[in-house]
Protein backbone atom coordinates (compact mmCIF):
# COMPACT_ATOMS: atom_id res chain seq x y z
CA UNK A 1 0.00 0.00 0.00
CA UNK A 2 2.77 2.35 0.99
CA UNK A 3 4.30 1.96 -2.50
CA UNK A 4 1.18 3.36 -4.09
CA UNK A 5 1.19 6.58 -2.10
CA UNK A 6 3.32 8.52 -4.60
CA UNK A 7 1.02 7.32 -7.38
CA UNK A 8 -2.08 8.46 -5.50
CA UNK A 9 -0.45 11.78 -4.81
CA UNK A 10 0.45 12.12 -8.47
CA UNK A 11 -3.10 11.26 -9.55
CA UNK A 12 -4.53 13.67 -7.00
CA UNK A 13 -2.31 16.52 -8.15
CA UNK A 14 -3.10 15.72 -11.79
CA UNK A 15 -6.82 15.76 -11.05
CA UNK A 16 -6.49 19.02 -9.13
CA UNK A 17 -4.62 20.61 -12.02
CA UNK A 18 -7.22 19.38 -14.49
CA UNK A 19 -9.99 20.88 -12.39
CA UNK A 20 -8.09 24.13 -11.95
CA UNK A 21 -7.50 24.35 -15.69
CA UNK A 22 -11.14 23.60 -16.39
CA UNK A 23 -12.22 26.25 -13.87
CA UNK A 24 -9.96 28.80 -15.52
CA UNK A 25 -12.34 28.35 -18.47
CA UNK A 26 -12.02 30.85 -21.26
CA UNK A 27 -8.23 30.97 -21.47
CA UNK A 28 -7.67 29.98 -25.07
CA UNK A 29 -5.20 32.77 -25.54
CA UNK A 30 -2.95 31.66 -22.70
CA UNK A 31 -2.73 27.88 -22.61
CA UNK A 32 -0.96 26.72 -19.51
CA UNK A 33 1.47 23.93 -19.91
CA UNK A 34 0.47 21.22 -17.43
CA UNK A 35 3.85 20.48 -16.01
CA UNK A 36 2.76 18.31 -13.16
CA UNK A 37 4.74 17.97 -10.00
CA UNK A 38 5.96 21.54 -9.71
CA UNK A 39 4.35 21.79 -6.30
CA UNK A 40 6.17 18.81 -4.89
CA UNK A 41 9.70 19.83 -5.64
CA UNK A 42 10.66 18.17 -8.93
CA UNK A 43 12.55 21.37 -9.75
CA UNK A 44 16.24 21.47 -9.00
CA UNK A 45 16.15 21.49 -5.23
CA UNK A 46 19.79 20.67 -4.68
CA UNK A 47 20.76 23.78 -2.80
CA UNK A 48 24.42 24.48 -3.30
CA UNK A 49 26.76 25.75 -0.63
CA UNK A 50 29.15 28.58 -1.10
CA UNK A 51 32.77 28.83 -0.06
CA UNK A 52 33.08 30.66 3.22
CA UNK A 53 29.36 30.87 3.83
CA UNK A 54 28.01 28.69 6.59
CA UNK A 55 24.43 27.72 5.86
CA UNK A 56 22.31 27.01 8.88
CA UNK A 57 18.77 26.11 7.88
CA UNK A 58 16.14 27.25 10.26
CA UNK A 59 13.04 25.12 9.97
CA UNK A 60 12.38 24.89 6.22
CA UNK A 61 8.87 24.85 4.81
CA UNK A 62 7.19 21.49 4.17
CA UNK A 63 6.59 20.45 0.55
CA UNK A 64 3.56 22.21 -0.87
CA UNK A 65 1.24 19.21 -1.04
CA UNK A 66 -2.52 19.51 -1.07
CA UNK A 67 -3.45 20.27 2.51
CA UNK A 68 -7.05 19.09 2.59
CA UNK A 69 -10.20 21.16 3.01
CA UNK A 70 -10.69 24.27 5.12
CA UNK A 71 -11.90 23.78 8.70
CA UNK A 72 -14.84 26.00 9.69
CA UNK A 73 -14.18 28.73 12.16
CA UNK A 74 -12.35 32.03 12.10
CA UNK A 75 -9.32 33.12 14.09
CA UNK A 76 -8.39 36.71 14.81
CA UNK A 77 -5.61 38.07 12.58
CA UNK A 78 -2.28 39.02 14.13
CA UNK A 79 -1.42 42.67 13.38
CA UNK A 80 2.03 44.17 12.77
CA UNK A 81 3.84 47.52 12.84
CA UNK A 82 5.07 49.30 9.70
CA UNK A 83 7.77 47.30 7.87
CA UNK A 84 7.91 44.98 10.89
CA UNK A 85 7.49 41.25 11.32
CA UNK A 86 7.78 41.12 15.11
CA UNK A 87 4.74 39.77 16.89
CA UNK A 88 3.81 42.23 19.64
CA UNK A 89 3.14 40.84 23.15
CA UNK A 90 -0.49 42.02 22.80
CA UNK A 91 -0.91 39.68 19.78
CA UNK A 92 0.60 36.64 21.47
CA UNK A 93 -2.68 35.20 22.81
CA UNK A 94 -4.00 34.94 19.22
CA UNK A 95 -1.03 32.80 18.28
CA UNK A 96 -1.54 30.68 21.39
CA UNK A 97 -5.18 30.04 20.31
CA UNK A 98 -3.98 28.69 16.98
CA UNK A 99 -1.39 26.52 18.73
CA UNK A 100 -4.16 25.15 20.98
CA UNK A 101 -6.38 24.39 17.99
CA UNK A 102 -3.54 22.53 16.24
CA UNK A 103 -2.72 20.48 19.33
CA UNK A 104 -6.41 19.63 19.89
CA UNK A 105 -6.57 17.78 16.57
CA UNK A 106 -3.54 16.04 15.10
CA UNK A 107 -5.14 15.99 11.63
CA UNK A 108 -5.27 19.77 11.38
CA UNK A 109 -2.72 21.63 9.31
CA UNK A 110 -2.40 25.39 8.96
CA UNK A 111 -1.97 27.95 6.21
CA UNK A 112 -0.73 31.33 7.47
CA UNK A 113 -1.46 34.16 5.04
CA UNK A 114 0.87 37.16 5.27
CA UNK A 115 -0.32 40.64 4.20
CA UNK A 116 1.08 44.18 4.13
CA UNK A 117 -0.23 47.69 3.66
CA UNK A 118 0.08 49.28 0.21
CA UNK A 119 3.18 51.37 0.88
CA UNK A 120 6.47 50.16 -0.58
CA UNK A 121 7.03 48.07 -3.69
CA UNK A 122 4.74 45.14 -4.43
CA UNK A 123 7.69 42.76 -4.67
CA UNK A 124 9.19 43.88 -1.39
CA UNK A 125 5.78 43.58 0.25
CA UNK A 126 5.45 40.02 -1.03
CA UNK A 127 8.64 39.18 0.89
CA UNK A 128 7.51 41.23 3.90
CA UNK A 129 4.16 39.39 4.02
CA UNK A 130 6.05 36.10 3.84
CA UNK A 131 8.34 37.21 6.62
CA UNK A 132 5.29 37.97 8.81
CA UNK A 133 3.77 34.56 8.11
CA UNK A 134 7.14 32.92 8.83
CA UNK A 135 7.52 34.86 12.10
CA UNK A 136 4.17 33.52 13.30
CA UNK A 137 5.18 30.05 12.13
CA UNK A 138 8.41 30.24 14.16
CA UNK A 139 6.36 31.24 17.21
CA UNK A 140 4.01 28.30 16.74
CA UNK A 141 7.02 25.99 16.49
CA UNK A 142 8.34 27.46 19.74
CA UNK A 143 4.92 26.66 21.27
CA UNK A 144 5.49 23.01 20.34
CA UNK A 145 3.71 22.77 16.96
CA UNK A 146 5.43 20.60 14.33
CA UNK A 147 6.65 22.92 11.56
CA UNK A 148 5.75 20.34 8.89
CA UNK A 149 2.06 21.12 9.58
CA UNK A 150 2.40 24.81 8.68
CA UNK A 151 2.47 26.36 5.20
CA UNK A 152 2.90 30.08 4.53
CA UNK A 153 1.15 32.04 1.79
CA UNK A 154 2.10 35.67 1.29
CA UNK A 155 -0.12 38.02 -0.70
CA UNK A 156 2.00 41.10 -0.04
CA UNK A 157 -0.17 44.18 -0.58
CA UNK A 158 -2.45 42.50 -3.14
CA UNK A 159 -5.38 41.66 -0.84
CA UNK A 160 -6.05 44.49 1.62
CA UNK A 161 -8.67 43.82 4.31
CA UNK A 162 -9.70 47.48 4.39
CA UNK A 163 -9.68 50.02 1.55
CA UNK A 164 -8.17 53.42 2.28
CA UNK A 165 -5.00 55.48 2.31
CA UNK A 166 -4.71 56.38 5.99
CA UNK A 167 -3.00 54.71 8.92
CA UNK A 168 -6.41 53.45 10.14
CA UNK A 169 -6.68 51.31 7.00
CA UNK A 170 -2.97 50.49 6.79
CA UNK A 171 -2.87 49.12 10.37
CA UNK A 172 -5.72 46.70 9.58
CA UNK A 173 -3.93 45.49 6.44
CA UNK A 174 -0.59 44.63 8.07
CA UNK A 175 -1.65 41.22 9.25
CA UNK A 176 -1.31 37.46 9.30
CA UNK A 177 -4.51 35.45 8.77
CA UNK A 178 -5.09 31.82 9.63
CA UNK A 179 -6.84 28.97 7.88
CA UNK A 180 -6.95 25.54 9.48
CA UNK A 181 -7.14 22.63 7.02
CA UNK A 182 -7.93 18.95 7.49
Amino acid sequence: MKHFLPLFRFLFVSLLLLILNACAGNNDEDPLQSDIGMGGGTLGNDTGTLPGGEFIDIDGLPPRDPMGVPVEGAYAPVYFGYDSSSVAPSEMSKVQQIADALSSNARYTLIIQGHTDERGSREYNLALGERRALAVRELLISFGVDGSRIQTLSFGEEQPAVAGFEESAYSMNRRAEFQLMQ
Binding site: N45, G48, E54, S121, F155
Partner: protein, 405 residues
Protein backbone atom coordinates in the same frame (compact mmCIF):
# COMPACT_ATOMS: atom_id res chain seq x y z
CA UNK B 1 20.15 78.81 -34.33
CA UNK B 2 23.58 79.95 -35.29
CA UNK B 3 26.32 77.53 -36.20
CA UNK B 4 28.23 78.55 -33.12
CA UNK B 5 25.23 77.78 -30.91
CA UNK B 6 24.72 74.48 -32.63
CA UNK B 7 28.35 73.54 -32.16
CA UNK B 8 28.16 74.60 -28.53
CA UNK B 9 25.03 72.48 -28.09
CA UNK B 10 26.69 69.59 -29.85
CA UNK B 11 29.70 69.69 -27.58
CA UNK B 12 27.56 70.19 -24.50
CA UNK B 13 24.95 67.51 -25.02
CA UNK B 14 25.23 65.34 -28.04
CA UNK B 15 28.92 64.63 -28.05
CA UNK B 16 29.07 63.53 -24.41
CA UNK B 17 25.97 61.43 -24.98
CA UNK B 18 27.52 59.42 -27.75
CA UNK B 19 31.01 59.19 -26.33
CA UNK B 20 30.46 56.94 -23.32
CA UNK B 21 27.50 55.89 -21.28
CA UNK B 22 29.29 57.06 -18.15
CA UNK B 23 29.72 60.57 -19.41
CA UNK B 24 26.13 60.60 -20.59
CA UNK B 25 24.41 60.94 -17.24
CA UNK B 26 27.00 63.05 -15.49
CA UNK B 27 27.16 65.68 -18.18
CA UNK B 28 23.43 65.95 -18.57
CA UNK B 29 22.77 66.12 -14.85
CA UNK B 30 25.41 68.67 -14.08
CA UNK B 31 24.05 71.01 -16.72
CA UNK B 32 20.33 71.10 -16.09
CA UNK B 33 18.52 73.37 -18.47
CA UNK B 34 20.97 72.70 -21.28
CA UNK B 35 18.97 73.45 -24.39
CA UNK B 36 16.85 70.84 -26.04
CA UNK B 37 16.94 70.08 -29.70
CA UNK B 38 14.00 72.15 -30.93
CA UNK B 39 11.71 70.96 -33.69
CA UNK B 40 8.77 72.25 -35.66
CA UNK B 41 6.48 70.16 -37.82
CA UNK B 42 5.58 72.82 -40.37
CA UNK B 43 6.98 70.91 -43.33
CA UNK B 44 4.40 68.14 -43.25
CA UNK B 45 1.86 67.66 -46.01
CA UNK B 46 -0.69 65.47 -44.22
CA UNK B 47 -3.61 65.81 -46.60
CA UNK B 48 -4.46 62.18 -47.20
CA UNK B 49 -5.70 60.04 -44.29
CA UNK B 50 -2.70 57.68 -44.21
CA UNK B 51 -0.35 60.66 -44.15
CA UNK B 52 -2.29 62.11 -41.22
CA UNK B 53 -2.01 58.84 -39.30
CA UNK B 54 1.69 58.52 -40.05
CA UNK B 55 2.72 62.05 -39.13
CA UNK B 56 0.52 62.18 -36.01
CA UNK B 57 2.24 59.02 -34.82
CA UNK B 58 5.71 60.23 -35.81
CA UNK B 59 5.22 63.52 -33.96
CA UNK B 60 3.86 61.78 -30.85
CA UNK B 61 6.96 59.54 -30.75
CA UNK B 62 9.46 62.34 -31.38
CA UNK B 63 8.12 64.68 -28.73
CA UNK B 64 8.09 61.89 -26.15
CA UNK B 65 11.88 62.00 -26.37
CA UNK B 66 13.30 64.13 -23.60
CA UNK B 67 15.98 65.77 -25.75
CA UNK B 68 13.51 66.86 -28.44
CA UNK B 69 11.00 69.68 -27.96
CA UNK B 70 8.37 71.16 -30.24
CA UNK B 71 8.47 74.94 -30.63
CA UNK B 72 7.01 77.48 -33.10
CA UNK B 73 8.79 77.41 -36.49
CA UNK B 74 10.46 80.77 -35.86
CA UNK B 75 12.30 79.35 -32.84
CA UNK B 76 13.01 75.83 -34.11
CA UNK B 77 16.47 74.50 -34.84
CA UNK B 78 15.09 71.75 -37.06
CA UNK B 79 12.06 71.45 -39.30
CA UNK B 80 10.37 68.07 -39.76
CA UNK B 81 8.68 67.69 -43.12
CA UNK B 82 7.41 65.10 -45.55
CA UNK B 83 4.62 63.63 -47.58
CA UNK B 84 2.71 60.38 -47.89
CA UNK B 85 1.06 59.57 -51.23
CA UNK B 86 -0.64 56.52 -52.69
CA UNK B 87 1.38 54.54 -55.24
CA UNK B 88 -0.96 51.78 -56.38
CA UNK B 89 -1.76 49.57 -53.40
CA UNK B 90 1.18 50.98 -51.44
CA UNK B 91 1.85 54.27 -49.73
CA UNK B 92 5.06 56.10 -50.44
CA UNK B 93 6.22 58.08 -47.44
CA UNK B 94 9.04 60.58 -47.50
CA UNK B 95 10.45 62.23 -44.40
CA UNK B 96 13.10 64.88 -44.07
CA UNK B 97 14.54 66.86 -41.19
CA UNK B 98 16.10 70.19 -42.06
CA UNK B 99 18.63 72.09 -40.01
CA UNK B 100 17.09 75.53 -40.27
CA UNK B 101 20.22 77.56 -39.60
CA UNK B 102 22.37 75.58 -42.02
CA UNK B 103 19.41 75.30 -44.42
CA UNK B 104 20.41 71.72 -45.07
CA UNK B 105 18.67 68.37 -44.60
CA UNK B 106 20.23 66.28 -41.84
CA UNK B 107 17.81 63.43 -42.51
CA UNK B 108 16.00 62.40 -45.67
CA UNK B 109 14.47 59.02 -46.49
CA UNK B 110 11.71 57.40 -48.54
CA UNK B 111 9.68 54.34 -47.59
CA UNK B 112 7.08 52.27 -49.45
CA UNK B 113 4.64 50.38 -47.19
CA UNK B 114 1.13 48.89 -47.01
CA UNK B 115 -1.57 51.32 -45.86
CA UNK B 116 -2.08 49.36 -42.60
CA UNK B 117 1.57 49.77 -41.60
CA UNK B 118 1.61 53.50 -40.98
CA UNK B 119 2.05 53.26 -37.20
CA UNK B 120 4.77 50.60 -37.49
CA UNK B 121 6.60 52.81 -39.95
CA UNK B 122 6.18 55.89 -37.76
CA UNK B 123 7.86 54.13 -34.81
CA UNK B 124 10.73 53.03 -37.06
CA UNK B 125 11.20 56.47 -38.60
CA UNK B 126 11.06 58.08 -35.15
CA UNK B 127 13.97 55.89 -34.00
CA UNK B 128 15.92 56.80 -37.16
CA UNK B 129 15.34 60.53 -36.70
CA UNK B 130 16.28 60.31 -33.01
CA UNK B 131 19.47 58.51 -33.98
CA UNK B 132 20.41 61.15 -36.54
CA UNK B 133 19.66 64.09 -34.21
CA UNK B 134 20.99 62.78 -30.89
CA UNK B 135 23.26 59.88 -31.76
CA UNK B 136 21.24 57.75 -29.34
CA UNK B 137 19.37 54.54 -30.00
CA UNK B 138 15.62 55.21 -30.10
CA UNK B 139 13.05 53.57 -27.85
CA UNK B 140 9.91 53.69 -30.02
CA UNK B 141 10.09 50.16 -31.42
CA UNK B 142 10.59 48.40 -28.07
CA UNK B 143 7.53 47.27 -26.17
CA UNK B 144 6.70 48.02 -22.55
CA UNK B 145 5.01 45.18 -20.65
CA UNK B 146 2.98 46.08 -17.56
CA UNK B 147 0.26 44.89 -15.23
CA UNK B 148 -3.21 46.36 -15.55
CA UNK B 149 -6.38 46.28 -13.52
CA UNK B 150 -9.09 47.62 -15.81
CA UNK B 151 -12.04 49.43 -14.27
CA UNK B 152 -14.87 46.97 -13.69
CA UNK B 153 -12.61 43.92 -13.84
CA UNK B 154 -11.19 41.76 -11.07
CA UNK B 155 -8.08 40.33 -12.69
CA UNK B 156 -4.63 41.86 -12.55
CA UNK B 157 -3.61 41.00 -16.10
CA UNK B 158 -0.49 41.47 -18.19
CA UNK B 159 -0.48 43.82 -21.18
CA UNK B 160 2.10 45.20 -23.51
CA UNK B 161 2.19 48.28 -25.71
CA UNK B 162 4.62 50.52 -27.54
CA UNK B 163 5.65 53.64 -25.62
CA UNK B 164 3.36 55.85 -27.75
CA UNK B 165 0.39 53.74 -26.55
CA UNK B 166 -0.11 51.96 -29.87
CA UNK B 167 -0.22 48.21 -30.39
CA UNK B 168 -1.62 47.47 -26.93
CA UNK B 169 -2.30 43.78 -26.39
CA UNK B 170 -3.56 41.81 -23.42
CA UNK B 171 -1.46 38.73 -22.69
CA UNK B 172 -3.38 37.04 -19.86
CA UNK B 173 -7.00 36.57 -18.87
CA UNK B 174 -6.95 34.28 -15.84
CA UNK B 175 -7.88 36.72 -13.03
CA UNK B 176 -5.02 35.64 -10.80
CA UNK B 177 -2.73 38.13 -9.06
CA UNK B 178 0.53 38.77 -10.92
CA UNK B 179 3.59 40.79 -10.08
CA UNK B 180 7.32 41.10 -10.65
CA UNK B 181 7.29 41.44 -14.42
CA UNK B 182 10.58 41.11 -16.36
CA UNK B 183 11.59 40.40 -19.97
CA UNK B 184 13.98 37.64 -20.88
CA UNK B 185 17.09 39.16 -22.54
CA UNK B 186 16.03 37.88 -25.99
CA UNK B 187 12.72 39.75 -25.72
CA UNK B 188 10.81 36.54 -26.56
CA UNK B 189 9.32 35.85 -23.13
CA UNK B 190 8.15 37.47 -19.94
CA UNK B 191 9.01 36.22 -16.46
CA UNK B 192 6.61 36.94 -13.62
CA UNK B 193 5.11 35.67 -10.39
CA UNK B 194 1.51 34.49 -10.65
CA UNK B 195 -0.96 32.97 -8.17
CA UNK B 196 -2.45 30.87 -10.97
CA UNK B 197 -2.27 27.77 -8.77
CA UNK B 198 -3.05 29.59 -5.53
CA UNK B 199 0.55 30.21 -4.46
CA UNK B 200 3.15 32.72 -5.71
CA UNK B 201 5.07 30.77 -8.38
CA UNK B 202 7.42 32.02 -11.12
CA UNK B 203 6.39 31.47 -14.74
CA UNK B 204 7.96 32.01 -18.12
CA UNK B 205 5.37 33.25 -20.62
CA UNK B 206 6.45 32.78 -24.23
CA UNK B 207 4.96 35.57 -26.34
CA UNK B 208 4.92 33.69 -29.64
CA UNK B 209 2.49 30.97 -28.52
CA UNK B 210 1.25 32.24 -25.14
CA UNK B 211 2.55 29.16 -23.34
CA UNK B 212 3.32 29.50 -19.66
CA UNK B 213 5.70 27.20 -17.87
CA UNK B 214 6.35 27.20 -14.12
CA UNK B 215 10.06 27.84 -13.54
CA UNK B 216 9.93 27.77 -9.76
CA UNK B 217 7.15 26.53 -7.50
CA UNK B 218 8.72 25.65 -4.18
CA UNK B 219 6.99 26.13 -0.82
CA UNK B 220 6.61 29.73 0.31
CA UNK B 221 7.29 32.59 -2.09
CA UNK B 222 8.83 32.28 -5.55
CA UNK B 223 9.37 35.88 -6.60
CA UNK B 224 11.47 38.40 -8.49
CA UNK B 225 12.55 36.06 -11.28
CA UNK B 226 15.25 37.75 -13.42
CA UNK B 227 17.11 35.99 -16.24
CA UNK B 228 20.83 36.72 -16.67
CA UNK B 229 22.06 38.63 -19.76
CA UNK B 230 23.30 35.39 -21.39
CA UNK B 231 19.93 33.74 -20.74
CA UNK B 232 21.43 30.84 -18.80
CA UNK B 233 20.59 31.63 -15.17
CA UNK B 234 17.67 33.00 -13.21
CA UNK B 235 18.00 34.98 -9.99
CA UNK B 236 14.99 34.86 -7.66
CA UNK B 237 13.79 35.13 -4.08
CA UNK B 238 12.64 31.89 -2.42
CA UNK B 239 11.55 31.21 1.17
CA UNK B 240 11.44 27.42 1.01
CA UNK B 241 14.35 27.08 3.46
CA UNK B 242 12.59 29.09 6.16
CA UNK B 243 13.23 32.71 5.22
CA UNK B 244 13.33 34.80 2.04
CA UNK B 245 16.78 34.57 0.45
CA UNK B 246 18.38 35.20 -2.94
CA UNK B 247 18.96 32.13 -5.13
CA UNK B 248 20.33 31.53 -8.61
CA UNK B 249 19.09 28.67 -10.74
CA UNK B 250 21.01 27.32 -13.71
CA UNK B 251 18.26 27.06 -16.30
CA UNK B 252 19.95 24.21 -18.19
CA UNK B 253 20.93 21.88 -15.34
CA UNK B 254 18.24 23.02 -12.90
CA UNK B 255 20.89 23.39 -10.21
CA UNK B 256 19.86 25.84 -7.50
CA UNK B 257 22.38 27.85 -5.46
CA UNK B 258 21.57 30.04 -2.48
CA UNK B 259 23.57 33.28 -2.59
CA UNK B 260 22.57 34.93 0.67
CA UNK B 261 22.29 33.84 4.26
CA UNK B 262 21.25 36.69 6.53
CA UNK B 263 19.10 37.17 9.62
CA UNK B 264 15.34 36.99 8.99
CA UNK B 265 14.53 39.80 6.57
CA UNK B 266 12.55 40.65 3.45
CA UNK B 267 14.41 40.40 0.15
CA UNK B 268 13.19 41.33 -3.30
CA UNK B 269 13.77 42.43 -6.87
CA UNK B 270 17.08 40.95 -8.04
CA UNK B 271 18.51 42.57 -11.18
CA UNK B 272 21.64 41.48 -13.09
CA UNK B 273 24.64 43.68 -13.80
CA UNK B 274 25.29 44.25 -17.54
CA UNK B 275 28.25 41.82 -17.44
CA UNK B 276 26.10 39.13 -15.83
CA UNK B 277 28.49 38.63 -12.92
CA UNK B 278 26.69 40.47 -10.13
CA UNK B 279 23.17 40.89 -8.85
CA UNK B 280 21.67 43.91 -7.13
CA UNK B 281 18.71 43.31 -4.80
CA UNK B 282 16.76 44.83 -1.93
CA UNK B 283 17.18 43.45 1.59
CA UNK B 284 16.14 44.62 5.05
CA UNK B 285 18.59 42.46 6.99
CA UNK B 286 20.31 45.53 8.46
CA UNK B 287 17.06 47.29 9.35
CA UNK B 288 15.45 49.37 6.62
CA UNK B 289 15.43 48.10 3.04
CA UNK B 290 18.66 48.93 1.22
CA UNK B 291 20.27 47.91 -2.06
CA UNK B 292 23.00 45.27 -1.91
CA UNK B 293 25.18 43.73 -4.59
CA UNK B 294 26.52 40.18 -4.58
CA UNK B 295 28.58 38.16 -7.09
CA UNK B 296 26.54 35.45 -8.77
CA UNK B 297 29.08 32.95 -7.43
CA UNK B 298 28.35 34.05 -3.86
CA UNK B 299 30.30 35.83 -1.16
CA UNK B 300 29.35 38.60 1.21
CA UNK B 301 26.77 41.08 -0.16
CA UNK B 302 28.02 44.68 -0.32
CA UNK B 303 25.66 47.47 0.66
CA UNK B 304 25.22 50.15 -2.02
CA UNK B 305 22.84 52.68 -0.42
CA UNK B 306 23.10 54.68 2.79
CA UNK B 307 20.32 57.23 2.70
CA UNK B 308 16.59 57.10 2.19
CA UNK B 309 14.00 55.45 4.36
CA UNK B 310 13.49 52.63 1.88
CA UNK B 311 15.42 51.59 -1.23
CA UNK B 312 13.44 49.32 -3.53
CA UNK B 313 12.98 47.81 -7.03
CA UNK B 314 16.47 48.22 -8.55
CA UNK B 315 16.93 47.87 -12.32
CA UNK B 316 20.58 47.72 -13.45
CA UNK B 317 20.87 49.27 -16.91
CA UNK B 318 23.25 48.51 -19.76
CA UNK B 319 24.70 51.98 -19.03
CA UNK B 320 26.01 50.66 -15.70
CA UNK B 321 23.58 52.76 -13.65
CA UNK B 322 20.97 51.41 -11.24
CA UNK B 323 17.55 53.03 -11.27
CA UNK B 324 15.47 52.33 -8.15
CA UNK B 325 12.73 53.65 -5.87
CA UNK B 326 13.67 55.57 -2.73
CA UNK B 327 11.29 56.76 -0.03
CA UNK B 328 12.28 60.30 0.78
CA UNK B 329 10.37 63.09 2.52
CA UNK B 330 7.30 60.86 2.66
CA UNK B 331 7.26 60.23 -1.10
CA UNK B 332 8.49 57.39 -3.26
CA UNK B 333 10.91 58.83 -5.78
CA UNK B 334 12.72 57.38 -8.76
CA UNK B 335 16.45 57.60 -8.15
CA UNK B 336 19.55 56.75 -10.13
CA UNK B 337 22.63 55.28 -8.44
CA UNK B 338 26.07 55.17 -9.97
CA UNK B 339 27.41 52.08 -8.17
CA UNK B 340 31.02 53.05 -8.91
CA UNK B 341 30.81 56.54 -7.42
CA UNK B 342 28.03 55.88 -4.92
CA UNK B 343 26.22 59.03 -6.07
CA UNK B 344 22.41 59.17 -6.19
CA UNK B 345 20.34 61.58 -8.28
CA UNK B 346 16.57 62.00 -8.12
CA UNK B 347 14.66 62.09 -11.38
CA UNK B 348 10.92 62.07 -10.58
CA UNK B 349 8.75 65.02 -9.50
CA UNK B 350 7.46 65.25 -5.91
CA UNK B 351 3.80 65.54 -6.98
CA UNK B 352 3.06 61.83 -6.52
CA UNK B 353 4.60 58.49 -5.64
CA UNK B 354 6.70 57.10 -8.50
CA UNK B 355 7.69 53.43 -8.27
CA UNK B 356 8.96 50.34 -10.08
CA UNK B 357 11.31 52.00 -12.61
CA UNK B 358 12.63 50.24 -15.73
CA UNK B 359 15.35 51.56 -18.04
CA UNK B 360 14.50 52.34 -21.65
CA UNK B 361 16.69 50.72 -24.33
CA UNK B 362 18.53 54.06 -24.77
CA UNK B 363 19.79 54.20 -21.17
CA UNK B 364 18.51 57.78 -20.96
CA UNK B 365 14.77 57.37 -20.33
CA UNK B 366 12.98 55.43 -17.61
CA UNK B 367 9.40 54.18 -17.40
CA UNK B 368 7.77 54.04 -13.96
CA UNK B 369 4.36 53.89 -12.36
CA UNK B 370 2.91 57.04 -10.81
CA UNK B 371 0.39 56.62 -8.00
CA UNK B 372 -1.93 59.08 -6.30
CA UNK B 373 -4.36 57.67 -3.72
CA UNK B 374 -4.34 54.21 -5.21
CA UNK B 375 -4.70 55.31 -8.85
CA UNK B 376 -1.71 54.23 -10.92
CA UNK B 377 -0.59 55.21 -14.40
CA UNK B 378 2.55 54.80 -16.47
CA UNK B 379 4.95 57.72 -16.88
CA UNK B 380 8.03 58.36 -18.95
CA UNK B 381 10.90 59.93 -17.03
CA UNK B 382 14.29 61.12 -18.12
CA UNK B 383 17.43 60.32 -16.16
CA UNK B 384 18.39 64.00 -16.27
CA UNK B 385 15.28 64.71 -14.21
CA UNK B 386 13.28 66.58 -16.84
CA UNK B 387 9.51 66.67 -17.09
CA UNK B 388 7.56 63.44 -16.53
CA UNK B 389 5.24 62.53 -19.41
CA UNK B 390 2.12 60.35 -19.16
CA UNK B 391 2.25 57.23 -21.33
CA UNK B 392 -0.89 55.43 -20.19
CA UNK B 393 -3.49 56.64 -17.74
CA UNK B 394 -7.21 56.27 -17.09
CA UNK B 395 -9.70 53.41 -17.44
CA UNK B 396 -7.92 51.43 -14.74
CA UNK B 397 -4.70 51.03 -12.83
CA UNK B 398 -1.47 50.43 -14.75
CA UNK B 399 1.72 49.54 -12.95
CA UNK B 400 4.95 47.53 -12.75
CA UNK B 401 6.23 48.45 -16.23
CA UNK B 402 9.17 46.58 -17.80
CA UNK B 403 10.77 47.92 -20.97
CA UNK B 404 12.06 45.42 -23.49
CA UNK B 405 15.67 46.21 -24.37
Amino acid sequence: MTIVRFLFLYLLIIHPLVSTAQAQLDDVIEKPGASDITLDFSGIDGRNPQAATFFRSLKRNLILHSLLREVPPSQAGFQVGGTAVSQGAKIEVSVRVRNRSLNRDVFGKKYRVNPDQMEILARKVSDEVVKSLTGLEGFSQKRIAFIGLRNGEKGKEIYSAFPDGSGMVRLTRDQSVKLGLEWTPDGASLIYTSYHRGFPDIYRHTLRDGKRVALSASSGINAGGAVSPNGQKMAMILSKDGKPELYVKDLRSGRLTRLTQTPMSAKSSPSWSPDGRSIVFTSSHQGQPHLYVVRDTGGAPRRLTRGGGENLSPDWGKNGLIVFTRRRAGKYQISVLDPKKGRVTYISPMDADYEDPSWAPDGLHVVASRTIRGASSLYLLDSAGKEAKALLQGQGNWYMPAWSR
